[in-house]
Symmetry: none
Subunit: 434 residues, 2 copies
């Protein structure tokens, strides 16, 4: 049985770009280590959720980790909060960006969904201005926490709240801010929509007139005069990854949402020095940390966010640079331990040409001793589409990982009263006593 | 409409092997007939159950035959018993190997899951020693039947028994014999576990002290001092293959389990002279028999076990030899009748490098006149992974077979009250009478 390192390069998949002579970033980048691994391992293509369905970063990950999104997806906000170590017992959590809006009649138009990628002290100060608000005559308390760049999350604490409300964020610039609507005819959903509307109206007044935003406007920077909640989310029971797949798992990640997902699934989470969740992150430090963690864990998930950031900025040259820096970091995996399976893929495609997640397939590579082989010589979309691992659905990823790490249990065998897909650990078996 | 010959080469799929210059057995073997068929037919890759899931030989077959394992799988034991012509009305059947165990404290450690591949008179005599035992104060009767080599099956006859008990066989040498546990909180499952434990304890005493085992130990052979039941199984209603897919089916097989599956699904079963279920089987005789049967049947399933036996022995050279002998036998199919579709695949991969079933994909070949074409020139994993039949799930195999034999019914048409996937036989239609 092998140990596993699963490296997720966020938003990895891409399309040909005119600035790259109509190559994809993976094709244009100088990535000799990944190419070497491709020539020795096997490639394939996976649709993280389903063909043509663009995953969110949360849903793409959950599906690749082998969870059923219809049953096991609590909404995004919970993961954002857990990423900052905040657990929610009662209430609803939302992902929420700082944004720039303008008034047009009675509507608010979204001018910039990221308020000029505001960050640092400005974002912190504005967040504390709108946090701690008491809503619905004191029944509900709103907490707003800033995380990375323009990102944050909103928690509504209180009883009788529900995640069944629509997004306020229209997800498109030039569109109006949306009214939160109950998705079911249900008192809790209506209450939640009311509380959220109250929060939006009051926080808009506080943000619009805030001295930081006046200063930003004098400096010709877009003011962060609104927050756009989305991804309402309630706590639910999710089976721990370790129980589901028979691993003792750890995660190396810097982005709050990714740490949050990992914590929600019972991973131990590590963030090495210099790991930022940005294109300048310490990729090498992450791989070194992951290799060290393999002494204590048998599944290490490594998340690299930089590729996706470059894609959202629609900057293919930056994505090429990020891929090349990641490739340097992978040098330490070229000659991996005999008992290690390395898997490299993305949680979704983010084509630089469109600057957002797409439903395109994502290249995947399995690397390690004893695997099948194919004809691939390079790690990119074209070779992957003809690779020996074929085309598969992200929900099958964990079963393929069990298979290629020689951990899968033959269908029909049942050493444990509970159905498992993996060969059980010896200590979980009940010996016959005579 | 064509007739169909479906040839299952057990455990066909494989991985590159260092002894074969890092080729797979299919790549290393001299198989001019299969290669010729590949160049004229179309190849593909199929996951018999699902990506990454290692099938058992029973579950792999059932899935390829188009049955839903969640609903139609009775457990393995029934098929073993049916292979010997024994039908079970009431009770539970288990597959059970002779094994060698040693005592360590209160536990029994499995030293050899096959008791040195014991066979012949020794196995028969030991089987009769432990057969006919009366359990649970006479409520349950145990029957043990030896089949091939170290293999056999155990039947517990009686009322109020259940197949919802875990395997006693730990499936790994060096592991302890496992206690049979009820998989549901249910009086019948608990009773079955109790009856099984009584059988194990009493048969261990009889086998341990048996003169045959004393003699085997004197000859430095591992004693067959235990039987390892697994795959508890109860009779269930399974739709007949002929009704499900519109064929009149026959099977050519020698291994007991495969004959049992075929009988359970309503195939007529034939075992030509010299067909043994082993690497030295009479492959040519099987193909000749299958060709003859096509005069009376329109679907003939041919099972060849030798490839899987070589894989379990982790002997890639033997697998190459078996493939080459099978290839010679296929000479009679090179120039097939105009109305015949030949399909060659495996029920699972058994890589010689790991010596057990894996969840790897399995090559498949469709051969006959009027088929689509692809660029394949050789029958092996690499060409198959780029073949014109693509990648598909084993559960879709029968629908593809209906299609390539020009028997499938257009979706939405309904000439019969019952939904069928095939064009009905004329005699099954109800003419309007005026």
């Amino acid at each position: 049985m092998k140990k596993v390192m699963l490296i997720i390069l966020d938003g990895l998949g891409d399309r040909p770009h005119p600035y790259l002579k109509h190559l994809t970033p993976l094709q244009a980048a100088e990535i000799p280590n990944m190419d070497y691994m491709a020539s020795k391992g096997i490639l394939g293509m996976q649709y993280p959720i389903a063909p043509g369905v663009p995953p969110g970063s949360d849903t793409g990950h959950l599906s690749l980790f082998g969870y059923d999104l219809e049953r096991d997806y609590p909404g995004r906000g919970i993961f954002e909060a857990l990423g900052e170590g905040i657990e929610l017992d009662e209430g609803v959590a939302f992902r929420a960006n700082f944004a720039t809006v303008s008034e047009r009649g009675e509507e608010l138009i979204v001018e910039d969904r990221r308020a000029g990628r505001i960050s640092g002290h400005d974002a912190e100060a504005l967040a504390s201005t709108i946090s701690g608000m008491s809503l619905l005559d004191g029944d509900v308390e709103a907490e707003f926490v800033h995380t990375l760049e323009h990102r944050g999350f909103l928690i509504l604490r209180g009883r009788q709240l529900s995640s069944q409300v629509t997004d306020v964020d229209p997800h498109e610039e030039g569109y109006p801010v949306l009214e939160p609507l109950p998705m079911v005819a249900d008192e809790r959903a209506e209450r939640t929509a009311r509380a959220l509307k109250e929060f939006l109206a009051r926080s808009y007044v506080l943000l619009r007139d805030h001295e930081i935003n006046r200063r930003r406007m004098n400096e010709d920077k877009p003011p962060a005069n609104f927050v756009l909640p989305r991804g309402a989310s309630e706590p639910i029971e999710i089976e721990r990854f370790g129980d589901r797949w028979g691993f003792k798992p750890a995660a190396v990640a810097a982005g709050p949402m990714y740490k949050g997902i990992a914590r929600a699934l019972g991973f131990e989470v590590y963030q090495p020095e210099g790991a930022t969740g940005l294109p300048d992150s310490n990729f090498r430090g992450k791989i070194k940390e992951a290799l060290n963690l393999l002494d204590y864990f048998d599944f290490v998930y490594v998340h690299m966010k930089g590729t996706d950031v470059a894609s959202h900025r629609m900057d293919p040259s930056l994505k090429v640079k990020v891929l090349e820096r990641i490739d340097l970091a992978l040098e330490d995996l070229i000659d991996p331990p005999e008992d290690l399976l390395v898997v490299i893929t993305g949680d979704h495609a983010t084509p630089c040409t469109i600057g957002k997640h797409s439903g395109d397939p994502v290249p995947v590579m399995f690397y390690g001793s004893g695997l099948p082989r194919d004809d691939s010589t390079n790690f990119h979309e074209l070779d992957a589409s003809m690779g020996g691992a074929g085309w598969f659905s992200g929900k099958d990823m964990m079963k393929l990982i069990l298979n290629y790490s020689n951990r899968s249990l033959e269908y029909g065998l049942r050493p444990l009263p509970k159905r498992t897909w993996y060969i059980p650990r010896r200590e979980d078996l009940t010996p016959l006593r005579i």
